[in-house]
Amino acid sequence: MIAADLAPLAIVLPFLGAAVTFLLIRHSRAQRAVSISTLTVTLIIEVLMLLAAPSTGTHAVRLGGWEPPFGIVLVVDQFSALMLVVSSAISLAVLIYAAGQGMADGDEDGPVSIFHPTYLILVAGVSNAFLTGDLFNLYVGFEILLTASYVLMTLGGTAPRIRAGVTYVVVSVVSSMLFLISIAMIYGATGTVNMADLAVKLETVDPATQLVLHLMLLVAFGIKAAVFPLSFWLPDSYPTAPAPVTAVFAGLLTKVGVYAMVRVETLLFPGDRINSLLMIVALLTMVVGILGALAQSDIKRLLSFTLVSHIGYMVFGLAISSRIGLGAAVYYVAHHITVQTSLFLVTGLIERRGGTANVDRLGGLAKLSPLLGILFFLPAMNLAGIPPFSGFLGKLGLIQAGVELGTPLAYALVAGGVLTSLLTLLVMARVWNRAFWRSPDDAEDPDPILLASKADGSSVGTSRHVTGEDTGRFAGKDPVTLLPRTMTGPTIGLVALGLGLMVLAGPLFALSDDAAQEMLDRTPYIEAVLGPGADG
């Protein structure tokens, strides 16, 4: 019995939790307790798997005892274990934040009761996608997480969310169809959907057919990962969802797409056939995304554009496809999941405190709530890649890889990466200057709560101080805590995790480097699934 054999639990536990929370749909306290404890146990199991991963190497679990390539296998290697741990950690933090928001608003039931089961199903789908060693099972994992995400995206069914939901659902379904079509064609060409088996058999397929299959898969995953020019849907749909939902979507869903792209590039179709194409795509994603962010005044939309832009860095590392480039990309994925999620959570807090996420209508937040200032400033600088934060280390690794490759296109990518980093800093500085540093008097049409607390002259934590006026956003008569500990706590935790990635950069970079080497070798993966001597 080794830790990696626990892999199915990472999928089964959240599913069980979802079933139980469904039964408890009228008892929101019990729901909260069940979903938080489920994710905590899942996280502990995944941490055990990650700690054991370097010593056991790649390990395959055969579901139902069926021999590969006929049965479905779950494969645990260092990359998938790392992704599992990071994704579960941020899912847990966002869950506590969402539960805290529900408690602070005092709505014991309502549309939120469906939140917990759906959220756990989303986590199960993400874990399934990270673990599976079977292409069709990967499709099923994607569908599980997407269907859960459709529900979360349209939670409450308000007009803006329905509008955004339609775009999101249609685009996701089309990308899933492309994936399904690619699976059908791959099965037609090779007669298998097991990824290790495919890695061996695809090499014998005619190169032109290979190229078609390769590009089909990349387009399908490119839509999910929001790579330019397939990224148009993301800033349209993410910002309207509730803050915790946007946070977990931004952190996880696009990264599952990136993860699938990495597996396709390293395991199924190795070689540098389309690396130049990927490099151009990476460059355009970075630059176009960040230029879009410059034009926005709504923080959630602005962050959605930076999200698209920074996906470009991961594709950058993947396109270089050297050990150091791939390792830096793995590290960057872990860093970006954490940082992007914490920024969206902080934006939720800003919205609560200031009444809006529009920077034109905000002001003086640094004075009103220094904690909020710190919580925004650290991940913002981290995202921009200011030394010594983890964002800087990841970008440094990518730039090293680009310079090492030394082709003109690689140098263009390096220049594009540095430019994007500077523009991210500019975007973040604009938000900082407006929402945090200027006086609330300069804000256009600020929210009554923002102004009232300023007139009071004291830093007030609840909406009680604005009684007598129309506080609008809070329906009930009772005072509402604006920044409850249950919401700031998880945010602080995530910001700390982001800083932890910087402190632990040494071991983590070594791990990413090992994971990259494992993926480039391919043999460990193939032999773990099909048995020794299968490669070749």
Partner: protein, 181 residues
């Protein structure tokens, strides 16, 4: 591998009609397009399973080539269930959209429109830097009456900024920036 031509032609027709419907603005048509695309993909998978054969139940003495390939059928079944769930959800969304706004069309993002409409000039980022930002005055080259007047208030700097603002943005804003049109 032999491929059934009827299936391929049928699949092509499904895909063509599906993509055509998907490009419509009416949500019901988009949904029909998605259903056609899903079924087209299922037919493709069926075509990829090779020719027919006897049912895949083990009978002693039957050569393995005679059995039909059962895996694609299992995959198709899974895909059908998934498409069914998504179709049901889409119908729910379309109905909700109809209840909310009597709309069956794909709507534009209001925030997108707002960002596209806004002026490239931003008084906070782009205003001319005020020449005199010091709050201290040199006695020699300033008129004492003006100086007294300005120090009595907030200081010259704020006054100047106010003037610059008034110059570029004369009309008071009536519309909230976050409001949809």
């Amino acid at each position: 591998m032999t491929v059934n031509l009827t299936l391929i032609v049928l699949m092509a027709a499904f895909f063509a009609a599906g993509i055509y419907l998907l490009l419509e603005r009416s949500l019901t048509r988009v949904l029909l397009g998605l259903i056609l695309l899903g079924n087209g993909a299922n037919i493709l998978m069926l075509a990829m399973s090779g020719g027919g054969g006897t049912s895949p139940l083990y009978v002693a003495g039957t050569p393995t080539e005679d059995y039909t390939d059962s895996l694609p059928q299992a995959l198709i079944l899974t895909a059908i269930v998934i498409t069914f769930a998504v179709t049901a959800f889409m119908l729910g969304i379309i109905y909700r959209s109809w209840v909310l706004g009597r709309e069956d069309d794909v709507q534009d993002d209001p925030e997108d429109r707002r960002v596209a409409d806004q002026s490239s000039y931003d008084w906070e980022d782009d205003a001319d830097v005020v020449a005199e930002t010091s709050e201290f005055f040199d006695d020699d080259d300033a008129d004492p009456t003006v100086r007294r007047g300005s120090t009595a208030r907030d200081g010259a700097a704020t006054l100047d900024v106010g003037a610059a603002r008034g110059e570029h943005d004369p009309a008071p804003r009536t519309r909230r920036p976050g409001d949809p049109r």
